[in-house]
Amino acid sequence: MSNVLVYVLHYEGAFNKNSLGAVSEAAARAAEIGGEAHAVVVGGPDLTDELCRTLGASGATKVFRAQGPEGLAQPVVDVMDRVIAEHGHRYAIFGGGLLGFEIGAGLAARRQAGVTMEVTAVRAQDGQLVAERPILGDSQISVSHYRGELGIIIGRINAFEIRQGGGEAQVVDVAVEYSAFSGQAQMVKRGEQRGADVDIEGADVLVAGGRGLGKAEGFELCEELAGAFGGNAAVAATRAVVDAGWYPYAAQIGQTGKTVAPKLYLAAGISGAIQHKVGMQSSENIVAINKDANAPIFEFADLGIVGDLNKILPKLTEAIRAKKGE
């Protein structure tokens, strides 16, 4: 049997969208190699039978449920290790995000498996699964083939699409004895939202600011430009500036932030790191202002301006106001 196991992350009673995508991907690929997709969930009483069964719609035929701490990787490694030891899954797929990386890597160590991260496509080939990973700033794609009993695939966020239409999943409780070291990490506070609760997902125009703004006050330039566009425009940010406390977490685009696809995304002082790009690459029009002609963002911008944002943004704001006033 060539079954595929998927970890499904949940938070406040809802399953993670990328995890559901991974379940659908696993179901489609497992079918091609003669197997099924099974899910693993770890958490408390909010993981009801009813909720777990809904994973069937995304393609899981079985859901292994363990009682355990949430938001930490190592307890999940303990659970998946146990499930794989008993049921012999050939592949494990993760939908990406931060925990997926940690769990997938920990599981690779535990079970002497191969692991590939940032995977954007999975294919069945001669009864095996192979994974495609973009490397070197997305300029090349490398194909991973697996040896051994287990292959681990960690997807890039938004790589796998949710396909509804499956049936109900059977829920199987697993009792797991957690490793002593798993218990050495304890969640004190989870999911803290820092800064104001702003909405960037509904905006048609996003002016995004990065470390190139120089300081928190630099965001005023972005806010003025967004104001000039008027209507449905908002300001967004990179993780670097959110971590620095310059702008609210709710405005962050990327792997551990929001995924957006506005009509216009305009970046000021953003390098265009992969983890940012995955959250905005579906934008209809991408404009970037960066003083470094080699910044990766120019590889995927529709219009790139090599220059100093401090000079360009104020004049651009003025020009757009003037145009609007016409």
């Binding site: 992350l9 938070y11 993670n16 938001g71 990787a73 190592q74 490694v77 931060l98 925990l99 990386f101 890597a105 920990g106 160590a109 535990r110 002497q112 191969g114 692991v115 590939t116 991260m117 070197l136 090349q140 794609i141 490398s142 194909v143 991973s144 083939h145 051994g148 292959g151 490793s179 070291f181 050495q184 990490a185 304890q186 004190v188 506070k189 989870r190 999911g191 803290e192 125009v205 670097a240 977490y249 551990t256 009509k263 216009l264 029009n285 404009v287 002609a293 995927f300 219009l303 790139g304 301006i305 220059g307 000079k311 360009i312 004049k315 651009l316 020009a319 757009i320 145009k323 609007k324």
Partner: protein, 263 residues
């Protein structure tokens, strides 16, 4: 207590990275440097030592890599490490991320560290996962992408951004922690420290000396075989404007936006 810091030599950011078509591995010739993300891990170790909440007796830099990787260790020592370990052997070449993590864990195990620190990512490998692999082999708790590290009653109070916001996690030592670049501003080494780095103890370690099973490392021991490198589907190149006269540049941007009815 003893802190081990994992460091890696990577191609200089200014050098274009590529795959060597004949070996199928990353072309590692050309200018090299200490992985910039690792300087944050060394700085975190230094701040723990200077903070005094824990008594840090020793900071040891550890790397696995070819002969040239010695320079990354010397840089780490110039930034504050007391000594360094260099795991090197032809048989390790071509190890995938899981094999690399296994080999590093074997070296670390001989040091019995109370804390292992590493960077959030290597500039070339970009796997973000060595920490989680090393931790599982060492049977230690682990957290990656940490941007705040405090000592509280002998344990670590850590913060990081995860998929639903910021998490605060308490971790009992010994532990393996990867730090994000927002955690600190690494110091520059003094000239004296740079000059003195070559005199600090540097030990070359062979796989056999630390009990590495050779069947589990190197290209042949790796469970993932990478290959079939190819270019992604080409995307239409964007238009680039070099800003010389800002009024002119802005007029061009406005015209571009206007054409697409974005204003």
């Amino acid at each position: 207590m003893k802190i081990c810091v994992l460091v890696k030599e990577v191609p200089d950011a200014a050098v274009e990275k590529r795959i060597n078509p004949s070996t199928g591995r990353m072309d590692r010739s050309g200018e090299k440097n200490l992985n910039p993300y690792d300087t944050h891990a060394i700085e975190a170790a230094m701040q723990l030592r200077e903070g005094g909440d824990l008594q840090v007796d020793e900071i040891v830099a550890v790397t696995m890599g070819p002969e040239s990787a010695v320079r990354a260790l010397q840089k780490a020592v110039s930034l504050g490490a007391d000594r360094s370990l260099h795991l090197t052997d032809e048989g390790l070449a071509g190890s995938d991320v899981a094999a690399t993590g296994y080999a590093l864990a074997k070296v670390l195990a001989t040091e019995s560290p109370d804390l292992v620190l590493l960077g959030q990512q290597s500039d070339d490998g970009e796997c973000y996962t060595i920490g989680a692999i090393v931790a599982d082999h060492l049977r230690m708790p682990s957290l990656t992408q940490v941007i705040k590290l405090e000592v509280q009653d002998g344990a670590l109070l850590l913060e990081r951004q995860a998929e639903y916001g910021y998490d605060t996690v308490r971790v009992q030592l010994p532990a393996v922690i990867s730090v994000g670049d927002a955690i600190n501003e690494p110091r520059y080494p003094s000239l004296k420290a740079i000059m003195g780095a070559k005199k600090k103890p540097l030990e070359t370690v062979s796989p056999d000396a630390v009990g590495i099973d050779r069947a589990l490392v190197g290209a042949d021991g790796s469970r993932v075989q990478c290959g079939e490198f190819h270019a992604p589907p080409a995307k239409a190149a964007g238009q680039i404007i070099e800003d010389e006269d800002t009024n002119e540049t802005v007029a061009k941007i406005v015209a571009w936006l206007d054409e697409r009815k974005l204003i």
